[in-house]
Amino acid sequence: MIGFNARSAWTIYKQELMRAFRTVMQSIFAPVLTTTLYFVVFGAAIGSQMQGGMGGVNYGAFIVPGLLLLTLLGESTSNASFGIYMPRFTGAIYELLSAPVGVAETLVGFVGAAATKSLILAAIILITATAFVDYTIAHPILAVGYVILVSASFSLFGFILGIWADNFEKLSIVPMLILMPLTFLGGTFYSIDVLPEPWRSVALANPVVYLVNGLRWTFYGSSDVSIWLSLGLTLAFLAACVALIAYIFRTGWRLRS
């Protein structure tokens, strides 16, 4: 049976946002502080010593898109995974499962809220960054669109993670042991063009390279890989996540016994 109950979706969305503001120190301040420290250490302190910058851009400005993405990936994934995992863990998910709510309302609510939190963080981080580095955004509308796309994609990914995980360890394994290393090695702090072969080719196998470079292109109009390739891969990742979630809801995997 198809349909969409906007009020139900809004209720979930509102509840999830309130949960973030209930833990504002952890949800907002902590990631902003961490990213700010990166700007101070790598952007202002080390970056000021790097003559010529990176890829023709001042080094402090060069790392802004990468650091923004580092936060976006981690926070989108964590927020969405905790959002759905906690009711599963406490048993409170019975209310969602017994409500007249389908996959669309659930995604708009949980994933929408997780993505919104990430976007709020992104805005705060970008504003904070202006205090430490000079940067410009060549294509601001595209940058906003790309940030929204990445936030939504990784919130969907986090939602899947939250359904897959059956303990807290699994919940943190993916962001800590997979996403963060891939992001660090994905050109956040450097252009992959500076890598010697075969490491440059190896780096191209890292999917985060395309995300970082996609966002960097919207900032500076140039990147290590094509913007269209970045955009295409991100959209494909989004579509794969949506398809997997649709399958999860259809089969009830890890949700309904």
């Binding site: 049976m1 349909g3 109950n5 009020r7 139900s8 809004w10 209720t11 979930i12 509102k14 509840q15 309130m18 949960r19 209930r22 906690m86 009711p87 406490t90 048993g91 409170a92 019975y94 209310e95 969602l96 499962l97 017994s98 409500a99 007249p100 709510v101 389908g102 009830g252 309904r256 016994s257």
Partner: protein, 327 residues
């Protein structure tokens, strides 16, 4: 002029919930529900009794969308749940067995959330009415985690009532609450029924079913063993037991007592009666027994009588398959 009894009215109405051949077999091979057929009538309080692991919670879960059945069909309000789940779920409420909710939320916000989740617009007056009826209004701003166990259970009831369901499932609603609060909740449930809500409850407390239910269903190993009007079940399976201790031993039953469900103990000092229908016939027969003894000049020093309760019937059905009650 012909009078129409409640039973006749119920019989004429379409069941509010019609479960046909419902089966749930888990991947490990455990069959929690085995071709369950069950019809629930509009406006009744139905008590589903069964030992742990009998399938009570699985049955509720299957209706409410928490469990995916492996066979059978569920019709609610005349429509197939599989096809019309969205509209039907909006009319069904569930109070789970576990105290499962976001414990950091204040009571009022949590109950409002439940109403919104079911797609209804905010209605502060109705929410206040629900909270007041459950004595929660004074606690509306308290975090749920700071409430007592009984109060937390009331919050779950309030959340389930927030969308004014026509059919409400209460899974062990009074588990772990004290006697006073339990009686208070019985009152609340009776009030829900008075407002037109059909209530299905599972319970371990037989007295709860005895006190509130119109009909009782007994489930064992995933199968419905019996469904009947509570009073009819008591009448049909209820028994009176009496033990008459004699002052002098007898060698055989007096003539007037043969064929009256009376046996004589081996030592000849006790007459045991077991019979009746759970609706007074047994008591009358015990009185007749004592009169016969008096007329026969047989002296007795003590009489003990015991009416079987719903609990006796339940235990008998679950442990002995109803053999003792039916004997």
């Amino acid at each position: 002029m012909a009078f129409c009894t409640c039973e006749h009215i119920y019989a004429a109405m379409e069941p509010i919930l019609d479960i046909r051949g419902l089966t749930k077999t888990y991947p490990g091979g455990l069959t929690a529900l085995d071709a369950v057929d069950l019809q629930i009538r509009q406006g009744e309080i139905f008590a589903l009794l069964g030992p742990n692991g009998a399938g009570k919670t699985t049955l509720i879960g299957a209706v409410c969308g928490l469990v995916r059945p492996t066979g059978g069909e569920i019709y609610a309000f005349g429509e197939n749940m599989r096809e019309h789940w969205r509209g039907l779920r909006a009319r069904i409420g569930l109070v789970p067995q576990e105290l499962a909710t976001d414990m950091f939320e204040p009571v009022l916000r949590s109950v409002r959330h439940s109403r919104g989740l079911f797609g209804l617009p905010a209605d502060p007056d109705r929410i206040e009415e629900i909270l007041r009826s459950l004595s929660l209004w004074d606690k509306r701003d308290a975090q749920i985690r700071n409430l007592s166990g009984g109060m937390k259970r009331r919050v779950l009831i309030a959340k389930a009532m927030a969308h004014d369901p026509d059919l409400l499932f209460l899974d062990e609603p009074t588990a772990g609450v004290d006697v006073e609060l339990r009686r208070d909740m019985w009152k609340q449930i009776a009030e829900m029924r008075a407002r037109g809500t059909t209530v299905i409850l599972t319970t371990h407390y037989i007295e709860e079913a005895e006190e509130m239910a119109d009909r009782v269903g007994i489930i064992r190993q995933g199968k419905i063993v019996m469904v009947d009007e509570k009073d009819a079940m008591m009448k049909r399976l209820g028994r009176t037991e009496a033990r008459v201790t004699l002052s002098q031993p007898l060698t055989q039953l007096p003539d007037g007592l043969s064929g009256r469900s009376v046996t004589l103990s081996d030592d000849g000092l006790t007459l045991c009666y077991r019979g009746g229908d759970g609706a007074g016939q047994g008591k009358a027969e015990v009185a007749e027994l004592t009169k016969t003894l008096t007329r026969s000049g047989i002296d007795y020093v003590a009489i003990e009588t015991h009416e079987s309760s719903l609990e006796d019937i339940f235990v008998d059905l679950v442990e002995n398959g109803g053999g003792r009650a039916a004997a």
